[in-house]
Subunit: 256 residues, 2 copies
Amino acid sequence: MNKQPKYRQVADALRREIDNGTFPPGSRLPSESELQTRFGASRNTVRNGLSLLVSEGLITSSQGLGYEVRSHEVFELNASRFENLNFPQNGDAYNTDVTNAGRRPHQTFRVEMTSAPEDIAKRLKVEPGSKAVLRFCHRYVDDVPWSTQATYYPAWLVEQSPRLAEPGDIEEGTTRYLAARGIEQIGYFDEIAARMPTPEEARLLEIGAGVPVLLWTRTGYSADRPIRCTVTTFRGDLNRMNYEIGDLSARENEGQ
Amino acid sequence: MNKQPKYRQVADALRREIDNGTFPPGSRLPSESELQTRFGASRNTVRNGLSLLVSEGLITSSQGLGYEVRSHEVFELNASRFENLNFPQNGDAYNTDVTNAGRRPHQTFRVEMTSAPEDIAKRLKVEPGSKAVLRFCHRYVDDVPWSTQATYYPAWLVEQSPRLAEPGDIEEGTTRYLAARGIEQIGYFDEIAARMPTPEEARLLEIGAGVPVLLWTRTGYSADRPIRCTVTTFRGDLNRMNYEIGDLSARENEGQ
DNA sequence: TAGTGGTCTAGACCACCTC
DNA sequence: AGGTGGTCTAGACCACTAC
């Protein structure tokens, strides 16, 4: 005998029906009271089962409306191709990529003078707590919050390149601006991690329960030392990162 | 007035105390009944708040023991360096990496003849449902389930390289075995995604609520066509992926 | 045996959405 | 107004862990 608790039976039954198409993406699940009678369970037990599916990222709930099966469309982000070393462009080609996908990009932007958080300082090889310029970007696609991007520049670099600390965009792109001043990024170190969002991240990205964030930390190096560190936070349900390594001429024919 | 529901107040208060070190990683939270009196709330309300923290990945619970603050140690996985194109080695250097970190690797292994799932078939550029060899690996570090790895080889390749379908390890490594038979991988396409685990993944990786998985899909190409597709599923709380791009000689000095 | 969390019930009131 | 989910309570019994 391997009896599952009732709320799991509820979750399992519904999950199966979502998987096999009984409830396709975008459709609505039966209401809690309908599920009570169907499973012969109390309301709390039904809710317990439903909340399991919510935390698995399978469904969402909204007051007054009901439970809806989540639909998944993902946005591909090529991390190795854009920001090409021989052809530096503004930031990370977000505008180009989004527009190419037929979507409408939109972003808010701000520049701050802060002290570098410990993990950033370590990557930039500066003293923890030392001054840094933070250029922060909050990005939307078709008005849906998509990602936040925080780039830190160490103080010594800002002294040489004062426009980094000025508010507002740098027209030609920060990479080109730096290159023109003799600071060339010749390598990157990328780190990718996943975790559940902090309440702050959940707020900025309008993430509900059951959706992890992808954390992408890119540290850019000149020939001598690290010159910037960019931390990008994505909604995990809407994004996928790609890397191309080596010779991929055999991949060109069709879209994968 | 911006009153939060009581269970959120419980969660926020405890989260703050976890963040500021009142409850350090590995320590135990007060029991539910203690929290009831502290917050003047019913047991279900307290449980509701605690389950929020569980689904954020901050704490775990076990019957009879209580709630414990999760501790985070992450394992770095260099995706661009290992499986070096000029120096192919067995699989993805998992054994080497883990041993170097002073940990004890352990894995179970099986080989299956299956039909390629749709997404795999697309990446291998074969008909959906066509035959493929699946080499499946379940990996542990110090007896903690760490990742699962499924590599699919298309039928046409297996005909040329029959040992792929044989159970058991290929001593010299599949990459070398293939290279010796004239099939050389000259490029990779990596895709990285994050999501909540399916019940099956949660079982294999012994993941509790609040821990996402990292999905790493690597498609290997010869000069002509894709020759394999490897899907690795990691515990998101224990792993971080790295990519090195361009010239990183300035990084060598210290550990990042 | 005592204390912990896990499951389940029954009922109440509130907030939001649609009509 | 009527239906939906959101919050909260009080109490019951079970399962696991410690001693």
